[in-house]
């Protein structure tokens, strides 16, 4: 076994020092009836060649021949290979949480840079060092809002990603907090009149930016309603590339911005891992969940970085901590940081505009075959179209190796136009030729 360096001589010599005759003796604190008396029933060991054969076969069963036209919370983007080559440096890749800052300055400075990127993109003051994903980030934001406001009602737009809403519901079932879901209108934006009615006495008002229908939601209006009601506004962004084109949620009144930075530097990987982000106004910093990195100096006065404000966290405050989170998505956040460093000011602006342009092209090409958008509201790179029978289109295109989109009926079975609605994304990976091909395939 290549991961086990012990020779039989090593084992003997070590047992001599320990004063035991066999390795088995080392386990005598486990009562015999509790010891496993048979080999585990898992598949037999493989050598590396056979291992690559086995997992290669599994990977080959998955169809990934074209960039998918489904987004819905996970987005196909080009990640420059530079990112992965840097990411795989063992000093980054095989480090643990930076508990010993003197020998983790690489990780810590990168986290500080991640936090800065999150703040710049969201227009907020403080970011933590990442959370698991966008769904749990949304739940943590709601929980933070209940602590900050000492209220127990959370108002969320139905146009926030349904998996995020479900996760929120799961988290809040245990705390007894109430969730009020506000519908969206014909334009795909949150129903503001309903929101205003629900916001009274709420801890948080949660809306998508852009929302899960792809629509650029009424965030400024929602924030004004929330402010009046004394609730925190939480903006949820699953497609973070949009933040390169759309106004920063913080600039539009959001107090908290959460979501996923998967689009920066992280492959879709069948849904994870990807970094969740969590940004807030400074005044809530003592209520923020998760680790945070801060700048300081060493004893010679040189700038350095440490994990700080840790008395909020579970390892010190235990049951009174702001969250139970410990492990986050540090390596994924590092990948995002690297990708954003490469993109920079111009690259991010270009990438975001390119995505929007491709989405317009998709709309135009589908328009040519008579397929129209469902919702009138403006979109970033994702849009729902009326294709007649969405499930049938998905099934038909799947046979041609194309992931066509998400039938909205899976999320909103009761919506009057759900049957025809197909949510499709176009990014820089969808070439004009592919988009034309796709449009023709949707409506042959």
């Amino acid at each position: 076994m290549r991961y086990h360096p012990h020779t039989p001589e090593d084992v003997r010599a070590m047992l001599d020092v320990v004063g035991k005759k066999s390795v088995s003796e080392l386990f005598r604190s486990i009562p015999t009836p509790l010891r496993l008396q048979r080999p585990l029933q898992v598949p037999p060991a493989l050598d590396e060649i056979a291992l690559f054969g086995e997992l290669g076969r599994m990977a080959a069963r998955n169809v990934v021949s074209h960039p998918p036209f489904v987004g819905a919370g996970s987005y196909p983007h080009h990640v420059p290979p530079t990112v992965d080559q840097l990411l795989l440096r063992g000093e980054f890749f095989t480090a643990y949480t930076p508990y010993q800052p003197e020998i983790a300055q690489g990780t810590l400075q990168a986290l500080f840079e991640w936090q800065t990127f999150v703040c710049l993109l969201t227009g907020l003051d403080v970011s933590n060092a990442s959370v698991y994903d966008g769904a749990t980030a949304t739940a943590e934001a709601a929980l933070m809002a209940t602590r900050v406001t000492d209220r127990s009602k959370v108002v969320i737009s139905a146009a926030v990603h349904p998996a995020y809403r479900d996760t929120l519901a799961t988290y809040l079932r245990s705390t007894g907090d109430e969730i009020v879901t506000v519908p969206f209108g014909a334009d795909g934006r949150t129903d503001l009149a309903a929101l205003a009615r629900a916001a009274e006495g709420a801890a948080a008002v949660i809306v998508g930016w852009p929302n899960a229908l792809g629509v650029i939601d009424a965030l400024p209006e929602a924030a004004a309603i929330a402010r009046k009601a004394g609730a925190l506004t939480v903006a949820v962004t699953a497609e973070a590339v949009s933040l390169g084109l759309l106004q920063a949620p913080g600039a539009l009144g959001a107090d908290v911005a959460v979501g996923s930075f998967q689009s920066f530097g992280n492959s879709m990987a069948y849904g994870g891992p990807a970094p969740g982000f969590f940004a807030i106004r400074e005044k809530y910093v003592r209520q923020m969940p998760g680790r945070v990195c801060g700048a300081t100096v060493d004893k010679h006065g040189r700038r350095g970085f440490v994990l700080t404000l840790s008395t909020r966290e579970q390892h010190i405050r235990r049951e009174k901590a702001t969250s139970n989170i410990c492990t986050n998505a540090g390596l994924c956040a590092l990948a995002s940081t690297m990708h954003l460093a490469l993109l920079g000011r111009q690259g991010l602006a270009d990438l975001a505009r390119l995505n929007h342009e491709r989405a317009r092209l998709l709309r135009d090409e589908l328009g040519k075959v008579g397929v129209k958008p469902i919702f009138a509201g403006p979109v970033f790179n994702e849009q729902a179209f009326d294709v007649g029978d969405a499930e049938a289109v998905v099934a038909r295109l799947a046979k041609r190796g194309l992931a066509a989109g998400l039938p909205l009926a899976r999320w909103f079975p009761d919506h009057p136009r759900a049957r025809g609605a197909l949510l499709c994304v176009a990014t820089e990976l969808h070439s004009p030729e592919l988009i034309q091909l796709f449009a023709k395939a949707v409506k042959p």
């Binding site: 991961y3 086990h4 012990h6 320990v18 604190s29 486990i30 496993l36 585990l40 598949p43 060991a45 291992l51 690559f52 086995e54 997992l55 990977a59 998955n62 990934v64 489904v70 080009h78 000093e91 890749f93 095989t94 643990y96 508990y99 020998i103 983790a104 690489g106 500080f112 936090q115 800065t116 710049l120 403080v126 970011s127 749990t136 079932r173 007894g176 600039a251 879709m268 990987a269 069948y270 994870g272 700048a295 060493d298 440490v306 700080t308 966290e313 235990r318 009174k320 969250s323 989170i325 986050n328 998505a329 540090g330 956040a333 460093a341 920079g344 000011r345 390119l354 190796g401 992931a403």
Partner: protein, 518 residues
């Protein structure tokens, strides 16, 4: 004992002198380690590190102007090479498993196989969309199904959910399942029992479920005693959360009796599987009376943790709890695999706890690791992890105080009692270890040991590495008596000396701003 690291105390002289530490004109501090500013502090206007098609001039003219932003002030403008050097230089300030020994107790810092990385990057895995049609994802689902079966077997449980994204997320999920099970039996109950040796995540996860935490004192031998549990157990207790072996590295030998006591009053037994590396193939939580246990794939199954995450925290349960597990669930129907996402198919589910299906990329790595080891390799893993820890214990017993004499499994906890007279603390010992080229152990945890030094070598470290580490700790014990002040000044070798954590917390600077001052 030979000093394999080659470090000698007199090497310190001059190491902190300004002449040596002043950056060279190329920024070099020592050898090839460079100072490096923040991304936002260098570069030049107009530089860019990516190659993209140019968007058209009218790219965004259909959007309301009030919702559109221009270029974001403050974002870096760097060439590709500048970015490459930036991160390469920063990486050299870090200690990883690939750099050297990393005996961080309770974190199981074993080698992260490179083949797992290559496999996780196969386009069929990395490029697969989570909402791809099931017929496009049969290989991914097959892998998840097989991993779920194997993890259930290894834990001695019936069913496992792969959804949780980390250990603490698994704890939260497991406690939600327990709460749902109790609620289905008419009363979610009010309290959770947690020994004083537990990770902080345990009480935090219980509290997020609305439970009050009752702390149980461990005995003089470092273990939890059935009497203690019996005295605290009543009909309001939903569960006990136990880490086994516990964070002192000791097996809770009375676990079966404790489980009986809890079960007798209708409670459930939750296992924190952070220390599963001690048990692989030698014992199974499901055979000891546990009803639920979470794994930490980034510990036991060697997936990389990269400076804080990602993790993966599958939760294995007994059959009675299976209906409550979160969605989605992978099922096999004939030769086809499918994700169950509709609660109508699983009416008692706690619901979703993740945006998709969990950290699939970590599942691929864990499966690759598990497949290469096989049943014998898994057992050898815990055998050798326990051997290495006991070897450290026996080798250092005369030099550092061992607060508990009970048999150790995969990790051993010392303290700084023997160094106290010289005024040397656990912190000083840890920082000096850095000068010797080792990552320090976990320190000041568990809280029941004052000045704890918690060493977990893992099975992937050789005898020679451990001998060198032992030699370094012996040298430090000797130095503590001879020259305690030198220890207080350590570390002197890394890129940065001891950092002022008080200053960081009193005046938090949590992001770059133009003209930022620390």
């Amino acid at each position: 004992m030979s000093n394999q690291s080659g470090w000698k105390p007199d090497m310190e002289k001059g190491a902190t002198s300004p002449a040596l530490d002043a950056p060279g004109l190329g920024g070099a501090v020592r050898g090839l380690v460079h100072e490096e500013p923040l991304l936002f502090e260098h570069g030049s206007k107009g530089r860019c590190g990516v190659s993209l098609p140019a968007p058209g001039a009218k790219a965004a003219d259909d959007l309301p102007a009030a919702l559109v932003r221009g270029g974001i002030e403050g974002l870096p403008e760097l060439s590709e090479l500048e970015v490459v050097r930036h991160f390469t230089r920063m990486s050299l300030w870090n200690h990883g498993i690939d750099t050297g020994f990393y005996p961080l107790g309770s974190c199981t810092m074993k080698y992260n196989p490179k083949s797992s990385e290559a496999l996780a990057r196969l386009p069929g895995f990395a490029g697969l969309h989570p909402l791809a049609p099931a017929e496009h994802a049969q290989g991914a689902l097959e892998l998840m199904y097989a991993l779920e079966r194997a993890l259930s077997e290894i834990a001695g449980m019936d069913v496992t959910t792969l959804n949780p994204a980390a250990g603490a997320h698994g704890e939260l999920t497991g406690m939600m399942v327990i709460r749902a099970w109790h609620a289905a039996h008419g009363n979610p109950r009010k309290k959770v029992l947690i020994p004083d040796t537990a990770h902080g995540t345990n009480p935090a996860s219980a509290a997020l479920n609305g439970y009050a935490c009752v702390q149980l004192a461990s005995g003089a031998d470092g273990r939890l005693h059935p009497d203690t549990v019996a005295a605290a157990m009543d009909d309001d207790v939903a569960a006990i959360m136990i880490t086994n072996p516990n964070t002192l590295g000791l097996f809770e030998s009375d676990i079966a009796e404790i489980a009986r006591i809890v079960h007798a009053r209708g409670g459930l037994v939750y296992g924190d599987g952070a220390n599963m590396n001690a048990l692989l193939g030698n014992a199974r939580p499901g055979d000891m009376g546990f009803d639920v246990i979470q794994y930490n794939l980034h510990k036991t199954f060697a997936t990389p943790h990269g400076g804080g995450g990602p993790g993966s925290g599958p939760v294995a349960v007994k059959a009675t709890l299976a209906p409550f597990l979160p969605l989605p669930v992978v099922v096999k129907e004939g030769e086809q695999y499918r994700l169950v996402t509709d609660p109508k198919e699983r009416p008692r589910t706690i619901g979703r706890i993740h945006g998709f299906h969990g950290n699939f990329g970590m599942m691929v790595r864990a499966w690759a690791y598990l497949r290469e080891l096989g049943p014998e390799g898994l057992k050898a893993t815990s055998d050798l992890a326990v051997l290495n820890a006991n070897y450290v214990r026996a080798s250092l017993q005369g030099d550092y105080n061992l607060p508990y004499q009970t048999d150790s499994l995969h990790e051993v906890v010392f303290d700084d009692t023997a160094q106290k007279e010289a005024g040397v603390t656990t912190m000083d010992v840890a920082k000096r270890l850095i000068d010797h080229g080792f990552h320090p152990p976990t320190i000041y945890f568990p809280l029941v040991v004052h000045g704890a030094i918690m060493i977990e070598p893992t099975e992937t470290e050789s005898k020679e590495t451990i001998d060198a580490f032992v030699a370094a700790l012996k040298a430090i014990a000797e130095e503590a008596n001879r020259d305690p002040e030198a220890l207080k000044a350590s570390p002197s070798k890394p890129f940065r000396a001891r950092l002022d954590e008080t200053r960081a917390a009193r005046k938090p600077v949590l992001r770059w701003t133009p003209g930022m001052k620390v």
